[in-house]
Symmetry: C2
Subunit: 456 residues, 2 copies
Amino acid sequence: MKDRILIVGAGLVGSLWAVLLAKRGYQVEVFELRNDPRKAGFKGGRSINLAMSDRGWKAMERAGIKDTIRQQAIPMRGRKMHDTAGQLTFQPYGDQDQAIYSVSRGGLNIELIDIADQYDNLKFHFGYKCLGVVAEEAKAHFEHRDTGEHLTVNADRIFGTDGAFSAVRRSLMKALPRFNYSQSFLDYGYKELHIPPTTDGKHALDPNALHIWPRGQFMMIALPNVDGSFTGTLFLAYEGQTPAFDQLNTDEEIMAFFQTYFADAIPLIPNLLEEFRENPTSSLITIRCSPWRYEDKVLIMGDASHAIVPFYGQGMNSGFEDCTLLDELIDAHDGNWAEIIEAFNHSRIKDANAIADLALRNFIEMRDKVADPKFLLRKEIAAHFNKIYPEFLPLYSQVTFSHIPYSEALEEGHAQDALFEEILVLDGIEHNWKDNPEVDRIFRKWMQGRPVLATS
Amino acid sequence: MKDRILIVGAGLVGSLWAVLLAKRGYQVEVFELRNDPRKAGFKGGRSINLAMSDRGWKAMERAGIKDTIRQQAIPMRGRKMHDTAGQLTFQPYGDQDQAIYSVSRGGLNIELIDIADQYDNLKFHFGYKCLGVVAEEAKAHFEHRDTGEHLTVNADRIFGTDGAFSAVRRSLMKALPRFNYSQSFLDYGYKELHIPPTTDGKHALDPNALHIWPRGQFMMIALPNVDGSFTGTLFLAYEGQTPAFDQLNTDEEIMAFFQTYFADAIPLIPNLLEEFRENPTSSLITIRCSPWRYEDKVLIMGDASHAIVPFYGQGMNSGFEDCTLLDELIDAHDGNWAEIIEAFNHSRIKDANAIADLALRNFIEMRDKVADPKFLLRKEIAAHFNKIYPEFLPLYSQVTFSHIPYSEALEEGHAQDALFEEILVLDGIEHNWKDNPEVDRIFRKWMQGRPVLATS
């Protein structure tokens, strides 16, 4: 008889993990706070689209829905920067055949739930709020949000995939004697703004790019949706700096702000003032903790154990990679859960911390550096190195287009920083970097000291 | 009519803060989980003595009990290191007239409660567990630990001085929209071991020193008590390293460990095996959070907002300094609490983070570096600089014998690290540092770049 598995949370990670476990024949029960999104529809307004990259696709493949999702995904081959004069520049993410993909969170979640629901050994229970788990007994308490019914569920193992404000994590925090935990908010909030399709139903901007309006201390971005619209997101300090959300109160202040910084976007957002006033300002949290498990009985995954800021587009991807890695560990340890969970807990936390760091660092890159000539020059030289020496992979590609552990990518990123610090100070480098023997010498010497990275 | 003030927690910081507020005529109610220590006695076994340094004494002076406490305090003028062969070396903390003072936590707490209790406008309530506060209404819920009685207390302002596992902080965490919080445990635990007086009632070791048995990855220390005993504390990894607590299970293993590393301490600890087995292994936590206040209604202080590891002897001192600074702010802002609390929250958090960092860093210094000749050489040269240029204050002195904000001391510490990195690599520095023109040149140049620190 296979283990009874309880999954708390049927978001993206929870429903994917449910599919992978059901496939293997485990008895899976999934409890979710929200109502069934297939009946209730998805609440929009926040995080309506996400960027799927290689780590995510690998997991989709494992779940058998790569092709289905691919059909609803829009490839974004690079960043398109909008300067204050409305001038556009394009910066590819990688090779011409490489892209990240704008996907709908709601659509993807429904797809995963649908697939999971086909298994007889898997059952969803919607509308149940988790009140906490009793870790040492692998049981969880729930309350139905409408009926108030209380329910206790016993299992052999519990997986907490209940997001950044995880109830399962809260229980672990009490049950474990030395639980390291940090929650850290940026002083920035974000607000979503809608860019509808043009009157003839087309995208109002190039749909095959992630649009960025980098403005130094703040920025706006826009990702394409399949219906021809874009979801724009303004990232701005809550207060204290100028400009900041708390400085933008009257219609005049809001319009003046957009006219100064995002003039070319104003005609694209017809309900700008209304949306600015009525859409919520959401916060940006980073969560780190350790350990992630209670013996072999409880494990937290995805945002529940490592919520990150969205600036590297790796929140969903890292959660999906949790599922891939665990699924691989089931094979490697022949279903011995004590070993599987211990191995995952041992190796994955440093990767989660690394992508948390990378995501925070990328905020500065997106809002500021992408408009910096030195940064663009570095990108160009890095792409050139990569063409000559394919084993040289720029940091962005390692994170986005490979399966190299995040912690190794971060380390590699630091090493690449050191390399370019040497190169970018060379005289006249802006013009003479091609076929420059000194650049070549520095690069070759640097490459000799680098480890060979596993790119599979 | 003066504000009604509620203080949650009558530990060291809570009872001192109660004294300072009562002195100013506020209506003060203090609720404490434990029973009245004047009747119940103090539970020993943990944290029985603390090291009072200048920041603490300043606060004692404000409370009017400096002389009383001074009589029960034992000056420790330096570190006395015990090597594995039992050889002793002494390292002064500062000038000959400078010392840190071993004081009894219990005795000091009783003294503070006694003083506070003399005010008619101050009332203690013992045995009440805080269940949480309603921050926006400045009210708190309590339950009596014996009778189970529930009580709600309304105030104008609440101060949470309820320690590292603060219930007030837990409520702030829920009430504030973006509360940054981290709790982080060392992989080390500590265990107290008792060194009784000799048969003729004397201290078994020099009482005017803090004794350290530095062993690289772990250490033991001992602080003197007025009754002729010492409290020894072993700091050791919980697990995974050798040696570690989880490797020491049988009597043979424990004795072999002590014989190898602490042979000279064995005869001093007559109940070694019994105490090792029966005394708890306690954990070492660092807590950082921000903000510390809810409007002008709730403020957390001391360990409740900044618990640190004990290795710089600044846990109590930093909590007492919170009281001093707030008391000074009451004068500076003429009793305007919105301003006082905001100013404190604005300036003090970085200092709390700095002393947290310094305390973590000092663990490595105590267990490892104090036995390192380069480190001792640096101490010697620093003391020499200080004699010639009194404005050069070694980091330890800044933290321990001054009132310089911790964050400035930490910054100065980094700068001093850079200075000594330059000096200690000079050829033959061990022998030729005195009257060495190159040392002098490096030092003078370095001094030119330093800010003048406020030492008062």
